[in-house]
């Protein structure tokens, strides 16, 4: 064997060896909605910190433009897990026979907030009249439920209006097409600091929202059966990442700031003021009864799911 050939073998062995740990990891494919939010950054931050790798999990993360697009590939079996899928949407998909299972909570309560232009007379939701409009993203979304809760619980008179995502909503508010817009932090925090808009309500002002799991982590049923161990380890790493994100002086804030394109101070503000740790804890689905009644009212499901159906649908991976 010539020296050249030996070197080639050594180099090839080194390349193969370098890929071995990756090959030993279980690959899970995820779709994730609302890229840039603190709660949807858990998989990214945990991967960056090496937490998922420590649990033998490699992640392929694909970002989507909303809950529907997050759920579709899960149902099709193109990905294993979907993060930030609206709970009501998951109920609806399951009731129609889609192979989807809820394996954890993604957001209990909501960090979303509602705002008005600083030049507006509206300082709180009580200042609204039936001539005003209040935004939510799309029909049946979690922001729609929250606005309905504002109307039902707080007697808000403003007319609910769908305006799409936070970017489109901000444009609509700043051009006076809608009086009260919605956003999810860190979106809009810069505009608040610059004095362009002011917060008039938070999602948690509605009692119903405070105790309700509005978004979930879902799995494809077949993937859950075949990769149960890997998905279990994913959830362990997910919990560990949450602990890491809420630790004092965590590097997660810097990583998140870079990921979301905001300053570190804004990242800290988003976490400390809008995302209490309880909001992202995945271990229980809360407010199932109110969610179910919401789903029936909005015609997402024809009747409430039975106990047996719920037992099959909700399989929290501890």
């Amino acid at each position: 064997m010539t020296r050249m050939t030996r070197r080639a073998f050594v180099a090839a062995a080194a390349v193969i060896a370098s890929t071995l740990p990756a090959a030993a990891e279980d690959l899970l494919k995820l779709t994730i909605g609302q890229r840039g939010n603190w709660d949807t950054a858990i998989a990214h931050l945990g991967s960056k910190a090496g937490i998922f790798k420590k649990h033998g999990i490699a992640l392929e993360m694909i970002y989507t433009s909303g809950s529907g697009e997050t759920l579709q590939p899960v149902i099709a079996g193109s990905v294993d897990l979907g993060l930030a899928v609206g709970t009501i949407g998951a109920f609806a998909a399951y009731s129609k026979g889609a192979p989807v299972r809820i394996i954890g909570a993604e957001a209990t309560g909501a960090a979303d907030y509602w705002y008005a232009k600083t030049s507006s007379n509206i300082k709180t939701l009580k200042d609204t009249t039936d001539k005003n409009t209040i935004a939510f993203s799309t029909n049946g979304s979690s922001t729609h439920s929250i606005v309905r809760a504002f109307v039902n619980e707080l007697g808000v008179a403003a007319k609910p209006t769908p305006t799409g995502n936070p970017s489109a909503t901000l444009t609509a508010v700043m051009t006076d097409q809608v009086d009260i817009g919605w956003a999810s932090p860190p979106f809009g925090l810069r505009e608040i600091e610059e004095g362009k808009i002011r917060v008039v309500a938070k999602a948690t002002d509605a009692a119903m929202v405070r105790g309700q799991t509005v978004r979930t982590v879902v799995a494809n049923a077949e993937a859950l059966a075949k990769k149960k161990d890997a998905i279990g380890r994913f959830m362990q790493a997910y919990r560990e990442t949450i602990a890491y994100m809420y630790a004092n002086d965590t590097p997660a804030l810097k990583d998140y700031a870079e990921f979301a394109g905001v300053s570190e101070a804004t990242a800290r503000k988003a976490r400390d003021e809008f995302f209490p740790r309880a909001l992202v804890e995945p271990d229980a689905i809360h407010g199932i009864d109110s969610l179910m009644s919401e789903a029936v009212t909005l015609k997402f499901i024809p009747q409430p799911l039975t106990k047996e159906q719920l037992a099959e649908l909700i399989q929290i991976q501890k």
Binding site: E60, Y63, Q72, P73, A76, P166, T175
Partner: protein, 264 residues
Amino acid sequence: MAETDRVTRAAPLPQWAHPVTLVRVAIILAVLVIWEAVAASGLLYRDVVPRLGIIVAAVWKLLSTPDYYWHLGVTAGEIGTGLLVGGVSGLLVGLVLGANRLLSRAFEAYLYYLGPTPKIIFFPVMIMWFGVGPGSKIAMGAISCFFPIALSTAAGMRQIDKVLIRVGRSFRLNAWQMATKIYLPALRHPIINGVRLGLGVAIIGTLLAETKLSNRGIGFLIIQAYSLFDMPRMYAMLIVLFVLAIGVNALVGRLGGLHTIRRS
């Protein structure tokens, strides 16, 4: 005997001084002036309509980011593969439909109906068949460009000079020879036109798919910038994309010899 002056043809204008070029430049300048005036006036929300200087700075920053070229490469690969798959299948279908009156009458109506349908409705099916990776984006590009290329080829087939076909037959050319010596050369312009139209819709289809579900590509970057309300960056990407699309379109036209067509 009356004297007559010799009529001489004026020297051709240089390309930059051609009236068409001047009108095009004037249109672009007018758009830029209106944009800047609107941005400066504050009539529209400034963060949505930023000043031109801010957009130019964003273009420069974008082009100085090495990561951008990686995403551009991903999208270019998806569009190119989509165009190849959709183009070849569109060409074959167009040749068959153009050559066979029965098939044309039976199927072409469906192509006309499906052609203008927004192809994004097929995206969930594409995800199911080709997964969430580049496959579904390529499929979206392919399905988008298939229709204009097939329809343009079929229409071109029917317009081929019958004399050329009779000449081919009188020389007893076989089917392959007829295709390569008669049909394809005669179809060059309709095919290139179809490809140019197809390229545009392939870009739209691929980018739309990337905005919906992706972790790479220009569509992904655009929707990222939009969701962060980073409008200058979003406009910068659209401008670069626009310029690239114009360049590729012109290149396809030139390679296909469209500039040799005489307009009466």
